[in-house]
Symmetry: C2
Subunit: 422 residues, 2 copies
């Protein structure tokens, strides 16, 4: 834990418990506002997890607040303003003043990583930036902490949700790039000026950060070559579908001989590739190493609340220090009987009225049929159903009743189902 | 950092640098042996990441070694012996002696979690167990650290590789459970006595651990209800395929009203579910919460080396303390020209000899064709190819030459390809 945090917190543990941790927030756009709200909402949980209660010490916006004053009364600084200046200047000032610094700013890290990491080391403060790559997907933490001693060979990433959304929609609809881009803009998945996303530049900044962490070597944004999705044609996607390939804007950082290669380009993936099923505005990163085989992390790569969650996770890690010892916060009862959906397989006598009889038994137990298929004839006749969600106890009693019917040639078989939307 | 580590390390920083960290290893089976080897192999990397060099202080096996003596000369204890006794006794003794404790033992945590976490808190030592659930997939770290302040609603897990392998093979081949189980045993994916895996008991222990962490509430193995895969019939899988569903042995831990439900059962998943594409001996866990939407982590869930890697990650986290500040260890050159595979789309004149001409140009630039399809006629004639891996510079020169051919009706279009095995 940094000296500032210790000095203002643990060391001044009066009868009222430790003082709150004062957080200086730089920026109150989409993510900044979501973070401020989440921080208030989850203050109890942060206190339970870390022993320290967070509170906002001040917010710097374009039109209000003074950085020096906010820094003075903060124990920890969170930067969500974006852009490289004055974010870089503030980051350095905060760390030099001994404040741990949390940011979601990929450009800051990709362009000024060397300088920022050097200052963090020199000042002995934490610099955390989980939200800068793939929002709430814990890829920075995983590479820096879990795999810190792992010889990573490759990092493959779908790290731009806008382009993954556009490519998914183009593949699904057969429509052209311009049409789908316009739709993405309407839906809020693409900016009015989409250049940074569709050109691959945004993904390149993220890959520069991941490559640096994975290979422990300086990588600057200028060293990452990238190619965008603007030239992709619908018929490329149609051919790909025939070949069982799916198209992604892929970031690739890999060892090549005694060096590394860090690039972003549109790429067809074979259907078994761990990144092939990632559709829509999602992000995913796959890490490959001899000792781990391959590990893939996926989830929403953007969104104010998701990004704010990743920032909050960094704040919690700083406050928690080095010891994540599980602590019981509550004693939740185990609920024995829950609603579930089921698949039901019945071997039935091939005679009129069987389905009606079975549906009646199910109905008597508050179980209703969502879909049913009749298969086979004679000795092989079967009913296969998917049922609407019902209490498991009701379902168990219904099955017991069904098993008592003369019309069944064998015991009913059932399996849980999770359908879309559940 | 624990007092023991500080006392034996940082405090005694003579001219030769800090003393090594002495690791006591309990157990030398498959995972234990892999860990000992990995520790030696990655000692430099651990030192680079943490400033402390690890060395084995002693190994306790069934036939050799004395626990008390090993504990005495260890700074940190790693338990890979399995079983609940004497593992529980050793864990408590180690933590009471101030030693951080790392284990891959799911039964230990699932059955004696309350006691072990209480001792860890009381003694102020770290208890880490990433490898106990889903091997090298960083799910414990993610729930405990990144999402410590997140209100998690659901944890869905494919946490048993044996059963996922069996179900994947049954679905792919149409063969019955007994046949596939026998094959899994031959391939080493299933034990001679597979009961613990196929009954769902192994998955239940892992879900007890995940539910405890996710909901901050005591969950014991006895409270987890489970159902195995022994009764699954090939025709259930056949019907599922028709319905677009895939069958998994699913662990579900979720909030239900004011309580929670923690269960393991075979379950059909709709095709868009993040766990639906997880095939073979892999594991995956999906975490759902309002603030994060859903995050999925997947990878190999077992294997000596993979499990040992997760254990090493825990050791590194303990040694690193609270500050994962990125440090450059090397300066790797960026390799500009790398081998890649490409898809190539050519709009061509519909006349004899075109393909030969194009193949010759490609061949002249050391680019060879893996597969080719001719589509359309007349004005719409096209050649679509997938090429063998070649240097990107060769490919660029080949494309330039192709674009000079009269037979091309428009510029060649190319897209990277990653095929199976690359």
């Amino acid at each position: 834990m940094s000296e500032v945090l210790a000095a203002t917190g643990e060391a001044v543990d009066s009868g009222d418990g430790p003082k709150p941790v004062r957080i200086g927030l730089l920026g109150r756009g989409n993510v900044g506002a979501a973070f401020a709200e989440l921080l208030a909402e989850r203050a109890d949980a942060v206190e339970a997890a870390t022993g320290r209660r967070p509170e906002l010490a001040g917010v710097l916006t374009r039109s209000s607040g003074d950085f020096e004053a906010i820094l003075e009364r903060s124990d920890l600084v969170v930067e969500l303003m974006g852009g490289t200046e004055p974010a870089r200047e503030y980051a350095i000032a905060a760390m030099r003043a001994g404040r741990p610094f949390v940011t979601a700013n990929k450009q800051l890290l990709a362009q000024h990583g060397d300088e920022l990491f050097a200052v963090a080391r020199e000042c002995g403060v934490q610099l955390r930036f989980e939200a800068a790559v793939a929002a709430v997907i814990p890829i920075v933490r995983t590479i820096q902490e879990g795999f810190a001693a792992t010889e990573i060979d490759k990092v493959y990433g779908i790290v731009n949700g806008t382009t993954n959304f556009i490519l998914s929609e183009m593949a699904a609809s057969g429509a052209g790039y311009d049409d789908i881009l316009a739709r993405a803009q309407e839906l809020g998945y693409a900016e009015a000026d989409p250049t940074d996303d569709v050109s691959g530049a945004d993904a390149a900044a993220k890959m520069a950060i991941l490559a640096r962490l994975a290979f422990h070597t300086p990588v600057t944004l200028a060293e990452v070559t990238y190619e965008g999705i603007e030239a992709i044609q619908p018929d490329d996607l149609a051919f790909a579908k025939e070949l069982g390939l799916s198209l992604k804007l892929l970031g690739v950082a890999e060892r090549r001989g005694a060096g590394i290669s860090v690039r972003v380009f549109p790429c067809f993936l074979y259907s078994g590739h761990p990144l092939a099923p990632i559709e829509g505005a999602f992000n995913a990163v796959m890490i490959q190493a001899d000792a781990i085989n391959e590990v893939t992390l996926s989830g929403p790569g953007a969104g104010g609340l998701q990004t704010a969650s990743a920032v909050l996770g960094d704040v919690v890690s700083i406050l928690a220090g080095d010891a994540p010892v599980h602590e019981t916060r509550t004693e939740l009862p185990i609920v024995g009987d829950v609603p579930s959906s089921f698949y039901l397989h019945l071997e039935v006598a091939d005679q009129p009225g069987v389905l009606a009889r079975i549906a009646t038994v199910l109905g008597d137990h508050d179980v209703s049929v969502k879909s049913v298929v009749q298969r086979g004839i004679g000795e092989d006749a079967r009913l296969v159903m998917v049922l609407h969600e019902c209490l498991e106890s009701s379902f168990a009693r219904a099955v017991e009743a069904l098993n008592g019917l003369d019309e069944l040639r064998g015991p009913a078989r059932s399996i849980h189902v999770i359908e879309e939307g559940f």
